[in-house]
């Protein structure tokens, strides 16, 4: 029941009517229905793992209350570590157990020790990376007295399991979300229309852009040995577009759905491809994760290494990004991906431009910054996509061979490629003109006549209608993380 499915449409339509028409007058009923809806939504994917969310929520809820009531620091710390151990422990077990076991076995094998280590058949619970981070940030914020512990368990459980953001974020913070749950949501026409518009833009990016790129990138990455370098370069380009359109499309839909229910969720993407350097890129890409990591990993680390000056900053950033990479999954490719991104920060740290706001005076410099940042991100994404480091290395070798300047070979056909590129251009142009808005089309034709605005929306709807049949709809990429 993903956002772009008929099942979700049916679920949400009935939920929406109940939410506003039947229980809309009572906060308690609104929250109770929201929780029920969220659990139903999750159970649709995996009812077995629903218990895990409920147990984790209950555990963190009790620990949060215990921290707030603790009489001394020792007791406070005890409940903090207990809660973190529980939620992080589950994440580490489900997501990284086999990876670490294999890594340890490989390490021991290098010193001629071959212990009989077995991996386990573990199914990763959907959304665990996202709700675990929500739980950890909550417990740390309660511990650091940034927020009060939640007293209303229904509100807290809703914070953890809020269905629009449950499976792939954004990773909202308790200080933003729980207060919204404590106030009765009022139906707002303007917010609802804005929500619909954002969902439309998200669907467009997912179905028209990401799902059109997917068959081409899948073909190129799965059979990279058979293609010339020029094709692989196109593959790398389309892959970064695909991952952006897929994930930012998902985020737009999640935020838009939340708006329909009367919630405001901060944006998760801020036009990252218009960033002029890597630091700016990460301020604009998967914002809820990077801001989480900055607050709970980078800041404490840089405090620890503060006496080492720039070296300390470098180390903190590199550790931070390795963890960002590792968050995506248990594979060395993600670690290298994170490590490389951390390393890209070094020139900025050395010349002291890391925290400086980009005030570009010349157009040329701005476009150079945008293109060079895009190129670095695009090339690094190849590692992210590959199944192993060796595959990534071979992909690069093939890509940067003599055939890079040959005519690209595209099995899906040049017409399909050209149409995809045309739509990608449309997305970029729209986002460029809407870059000061919350999402791409928030301001598009907003001050123009309704006829013009609706014509534009019609065009998007018909494009979505057409492309929803073009290829078997791909699952959202970030659902796997």
């Amino acid at each position: 029941m993903t956002f772009n499915s008929i099942e979700f449409l049916a679920f949400f339509l009935s939920f929406y009517l109940l939410y506003w028409q039947i229980v809309g007058k009572s906060l308690k009923m609104q929250n109770a229905l929201l929780l029920l809806g969220s659990y139903l939504f999750y159970a649709w994917f995996s009812w077995k793992f629903l218990a895990l969310i409920i147990i984790s929520s209950a555990f963190s809820y009790c620990c949060g209350l215990s921290i707030s009531k603790a009489e001394n620091e020792k007791r406070k710390s005890f409940f903090l570590y207990l809660a973190i151990f529980q939620s992080l422990g589950l994440l580490l077990f489900f997501k990284y157990f086999n990876f670490f076991i294999t890594a340890v076995a490989d390490l021991l094998a290098t010193i001629n020790l071959n212990p009989n280590i077995h991996t386990l058949k573990i199914i990763l619970p959907l959304g665990i990376s996202f709700y675990t981070f929500r739980l950890i940030s909550y417990i740390l914020d309660v511990y650091n007295e940034k927020i009060d512990a939640a007293n209303d368990w229904v509100a807290f459980f809703n914070y953890v399991a809020f269905f629009p953001c449950l499976l792939a974020g954004p990773i909202d913070r308790a200080d933003n979300f729980i207060p919204q749950l404590e106030k009765k949501r009022q139906f707002s026409y303007a917010q609802t229309v804005d929500g619909f518009r954002q969902i439309l833009w998200g669907l467009f990016k997912k179905i028209v852009i990401a799902d059109s790129c997917a068959p081409i990138t899948n073909q190129l990455f799965d059979h990279y040995q058979d293609y010339p370098g020029s094709s692989l370069l196109i593959g790398a380009f389309l892959y970064i577009i695909q991952i952006y359109a897929d994930f930012s499309g998902y985020s737009d839909m999640a935020i838009g759905i939340a708006k329909l229910l009367g919630f405001n969720i901060p944006k998760n993407f801020n036009y990252p491809f218009f960033a002029q350097n890597i630091a700016e890129f990460w301020k604009r890409w998967h914002i809820s994760l990077t801001s989480w990591m900055t607050e709970y990993v980078y800041t404490p680390l840089s405090f620890i290494f503060r006496s080492s000056g720039k070296k300390g900053v470098m180390l903190s950033i590199i550790i931070n990004f390795v963890l960002v990479g590792l968050w995506h999954g248990s594979n060395w490719t993600f670690i290298i991906f994170g490590l490389l991104h951390g390393l890209y920060f070094i020139p900025l740290i050395l010349n002291g431009t890391l925290t400086k706001r980009n005030k570009t005076t010349s157009n040329l410099k701005m476009w150079f910054g945008i293109f060079s940042t895009f190129a670095i991100v695009m090339l690094t994404a190849v590692i992210f996509r590959c199944e192993s480091i060796s595959m990534a290395f071979e992909y690069y070798t093939h890509m940067f061979s003599k055939s890079l300047i040959s005519k690209p070979l595209i099995t899906t056909g040049y017409v399909v490629l050209m149409i995809t590129l045309l739509y990608i251009t449309l997305m970029f142009v729209t986002e460029w003109f809407g870059k000061n808005e919350n999402y791409g089309i928030a301001g598009t034709f907003i001050k123009k006549s309704r006829a013009l605005r609706w014509s534009f929306y019609m065009f998007l709807v018909i494009s979505i209608y057409y492309f929803s049949f073009v290829d078997k709809t791909q699952l959202f990429m970030y659902l796997q993380f």
């Binding site: 028409q21 026409y189 019609m458 018909i462 209608y465």
Partner: protein, 313 residues
């Protein structure tokens, strides 16, 4: 909320109008044309031929209307259905043709041991279904039976653009790039058999009609013959060649026996010279243009058709 519902309704109505207009535009664009060459329902309207060819892909690839026009002076049209060896489908296709044309004098059915009676309990994934998808939306009375045969669902029939998008034929409908794929009115294939890509095999024999299916076939053919008679049409069956690896004398006797039993004129074009020469085929069961010419020579020299065509009902 009322304002929201009002605007959603208005937007949905405008959207419906827009997609309906687009659907109508595409329907006008494809009216009377074929989008792939195989979907000949509209292409063969108002032809009013004297001679109509029916059958499977073998009928579609083996009967050259030009040859019959030139040699027998009968205006001819081939309405063979790629992928369907069932009498039922041929009958449906003939009915569709008759709803748009005057009755012909003769119908020639391609017959062979692969032919079956057929029924409507088939899967929804049918050969060339995509090509027929442009007929699916609000089908005309004449095309309704064919649309139902292809099992287009209600979404495909009643939601504008749905079938065209689903079966990915938008580009074909706009460009009509394949509209003239078979200018000779049948699938004239100039290719020679690539036996590396498609090796000589005997697999086709697996699809011979089983003994238990023969009574049904007889009934279906009897029904078709009766239908033709009711329309004052003379039904003729011609058994066209297969490559020798797919040939079995006993199996190829069955159609002849059935036709004799039902008193339907039968011509056997499965000549040994034709079936032994690989240059006549582009695969095991289909003649290429060279093979069609050889078969036509045989028919011309055999004089059986001269006799039959003179017996004008």
């Amino acid at each position: 909320m009322k304002q929201l519902l009002k605007n959603i309704f208005l937007f949905a109505c405008v959207l419906l109008v827009v997609i309906s207009v687009l659907q109508i535009a595409l329907s006008i664009r494809t009216k009377g044309k074929s989008i792939s060459g195989y979907d000949t329902l509209d292409l063969t309207a108002n032809v009013n031929a004297d001679l109509v060819f029916l059958g499977s892909s073998r009928g579609w690839a083996h009967f050259d209307p030009g040859f019959f026009e030139k040699n027998y002076h009968l205006k001819s049209v081939n309405i063979g259905m790629n992928g369907f060896s069932e009498i039922l489908v041929s009958e449906l296709r003939l009915k569709n043709y008759l709803s748009k044309n005057k009755s012909p004098k003769f119908v020639i059915l391609n017959i062979d041991p692969f032919i079956k009676a057929g029924n409507l309990n088939h899967s929804i994934a049918l050969t060339n279904k995509n090509d027929y998808a442009h007929f699916a939306f609000m089908p005309s009375k004449e095309n309704m039976e064919m649309v139902d045969f292809y099992k287009f669902d209600n979404f495909e029939k009643y939601i504008p653009l749905y079938a065209i998008f689903k079966y990915k034929i938008l580009t074909d409908c706009i460009t009509l790039r394949n509209a003239n794929a078979f200018p000779e009115g049948y699938e004239a294939n100039v290719e020679k058999w690539d036996t590396i890509k498609d090796p000589v095999n005997t697999k086709a024999k697996q699809h011979y009609i089983k003994d238990a299916e023969i009574p049904n076939l007889e009934n279906a053919l009897r029904k078709l013959n009766a239908f033709c008679k009711s329309k004052n049409i003379k039904l003729i069956c011609i058994q066209t060649p297969v490559y020798k690896s797919a040939y079995d004398a006993k199996a190829f006797e069955i159609p002849k026996q059935i036709c004799q039993k039902l008193n339907i004129p039968f011509v056997d074009a499965c000549d040994e010279k034709i079936i032994s020469n690989i240059d006549n085929f582009y695969n095991t069961i289909h003649l290429n243009k060279n093979g069609v010419a050889e078969m036509n020579k045989l028919l011309k020299n055999g004089k059986e058709l001269d006799t039959i065509f003179k017996i004008n009902p």
